[in-house]
């Protein structure tokens, strides 16, 4: 059905895959000393986990954003609305505030990752599974709860930073921006396992996404258990965002950009293609952005600044051009 458009999209996706490969190769090899075996090995050791982390993050956020937008049936929502960013910020501030920057949770990347993921997982399950049921599966209530929770978490966080020791605050600040430098192979392995489990458990629900976007009435008419599917997908989206955020920090705003770029480029309703496109765009943006940050700005500006500035402008553009909002 409509095979020419389908083939065209596959070609576009292949081209993007090529770009990702190029960006990845450039990231690994630019500025590396090829003469000295030891320096080369050292550079590889530093860069490989970062590159893998970026690819995983892009995949998790890109996929989750497309799914989230399709559930809400609105293409300008970002999974930031789920409140995981501010929860992450709050967790890290609270750890430094109560246990100090020298504590195990603040120093050990694995422990911090585990704590983040555990707390976010619990909050996600309670809010987006239990409350969703309680509010009779009204997706707008869920958005509202997410927004309220976000500001609730940020208010506590702001209060804590006001009374915090300035030195502690200084050390805290660096962990509150998204960064790929704290990542080791254990975290990567664990994230991949969590994401794989989420995708495996939700594989049937994901296959229903195309029908879900026709709206509740049509989906039910076509025999889909709408409420259950939405609840499971929403929980899955939150977990994906939680994994990505626990791994690299508050970065889910990226989702808005890459999901919409994917929709604009592919112009399809097929979620397999949209998710893949969104993930590939995410990889290009993250790897390319990090390459520029490291090689041009020598770490002076973190990549999340680019994402926020670029994303903000793109968001305005979407608002102004999308007449159907």
């Amino acid at each position: 059905m409509n095979t020419s458009a389908c083939r065209k999209n596959i070609r576009k996706l292949m081209f993007m895959l090529l770009l990702v490969a190029l960006a990845g190769a450039a990231y690994m090899l630019v500025g590396v000393n090829f003469e000295n075996q030891k320096l080369f090995a050292y550079a590889m050791k530093i860069r490989t986990p970062k590159l893998i982390a970026m690819l995983i993050t892009a995949f998790a956020i890109g996929g989750a954003s497309i799914v989230f937008q399709s559930i809400i049936n609105n293409t300008i929502v970002t999974p930031c609305l789920l409140g995981m960013n501010s929860l992450y910020t709050l967790i890290h501030t609270a750890i430094v505030f109560f246990a100090g920057s020298g504590s195990l949770l603040a120093r050990n990347a694995n422990a911090a990752f585990a704590a983040d993921l555990l707390l976010m997982g619990v909050v996600a399950t309670v809010v987006y599974s239990y409350l969703f049921k309680k509010t009779r599966h009204n997706v707008l209530y869920v958005l509202l709860i997410g927004t309220v929770l976000s500001s609730f978490f940020s208010s506590i966080q702001t209060t804590l930073t006001r009374v915090m020791d300035p030195n502690e605050y200084d050390s805290l600040l660096s962990t509150l921006v998204a960064s790929f430098s704290n990542i080791n192979s254990e975290i990567i392995l664990f994230s991949v396992v969590v994401l794989a489990v989420v995708i495996f458990v939700l594989r049937k629900d994901l296959a229903l996404l195309n029908v879900i976007t026709l709206g509740k009435d049509q989906a039910v008419n076509l025999g889909v258990d709408y409420d259950r599917t939405i609840r499971r997908l929403l929980l899955g989206v939150t977990l994906c965002i939680a994994v990505a955020t626990a791994m690299v920090g508050p970065i889910s705003f990226l989702g808005l950009i890459i999901a919409n770029l994917s929709r604009q480029l592919l112009k399809t309703f097929r979620h397999g293609q949209l998710i893949l496109g969104s993930a590939l765009f995410g990889m290009i943006v993250l790897v390319g952005g990090q390459l520029i940050v490291e090689q041009v700005f020598t770490y002076a500006i973190p990549v999340s600044v680019f994402i926020t500035v670029g994303g903000g402008i793109y968001f305005l553009y979407l608002l102004l051009t999308n007449r159907r909002v």
């Binding site: 059905m1 296959a207 976007t213 026709l214 709206g215 009435d217 049509q218 076509l222 929709r263």
Partner: protein, 250 residues
């Protein structure tokens, strides 16, 4: 399909109050009545879109809540007014969704033939590769009906299919409804505001007032001056055109 003592309450107010009637097979049945009489709610409940509080909807011998949703979707199709599709979807792709209950996301050769037939039945061939959001209201409505035809169900429920259509497109829509029944042998249940369409194109009329059935019967039985004045609380005159009772209200 039998409906027994069907009730729906919002808070304590019953919007549908103990409604019982039987939908005759292979006919066109119109649900009419003033705003807020509960017609659309009844339609929602007999199609499982809205859960009922008490009573029973008996569909082919089994209660509608006991049916597997997927099995039901091969026997009963509903088209509601809320059709704002945000996706970039072509007409053909929309119609193809009608085959979802049968083959999931994978369209077979047989499905393709059924989709082709549905598209040509609704005379949508020249639009089939256009995006839904580029079509006019009438064309979009026809595309939705084509999807229902592709769904190939015995029962078709349409919630205000003539809403937002001009006289030309609304009349065409009603002719299509008649053809669905006469040519394809489907049982069609409609919610209508325009009583003359109900009178001219349907076999039975079920009139609701305040969540209860005021009158249910053949067109001739329901379309009398007294009945209509009682239902709508305005004055009516009945005229006969082409053997059908049509109403004038003022």
């Amino acid at each position: 399909m039998q409906i027994k003592n069907l009730t729906k309450k919002y808070d304590d107010k019953a919007v549908v109050d103990s409604v019982s009637f039987e939908i005759p097979k292979g006919k066109v049945i119109s649900l009419i009545g003033p705003n807020g009489a509960g017609k659309s709610t009844v339609m929602g409940m007999i199609s499982r879109l809205i859960a009922h509080d008490s009573g029973q909807v008996n569909f082919e011998g089994t209660d509608i809540t006991k049916w597997k949703s997927k099995e039901l979707s091969k026997r009963l199709a509903i088209l509601t007014q809320s059709n704002n599709i945000q996706m970039k979807l072509t007409v053909r792709e929309l119609v193809a969704f009608g085959r979802f209950p049968y083959s999931g996301g994978r369209i077979t050769k047989e499905d393709q033939e059924i989709i082709d037939k549905a598209i040509s039945y609704m005379e949508l061939e020249e639009f089939q590769d256009r995006f839904i959001d580029e079509l006019s209201g009438g064309q979009r409505q026809r595309a939705c009906i084509a999807m229902v035809i592709a769904q190939d169900t015995e029962y078709v429920l349409l919630d205000e299919p003539t809403n937002n259509l001009d006289i030309y497109h609304a009349t065409n829509m009603m002719k299509i409804v008649r053809r669905l029944c006469d040519e394809l042998g489907k049982t069609v249940v409609l919610v209508l505001h325009e009583i003359n369409y109900a009178a001219f194109y349907s076999d039975y009329i079920c009139a609701f007032v305040d969540g209860k059935i005021a009158k249910f019967g053949t067109v001739e039985e329901v379309m009398t001056k007294e009945n209509l004045s009682e239902i709508y609380k305005v004055d009516f005159e009945i005229m006969e055109i082409e053997g059908k009772p049509l109403s004038i209200y003022y």
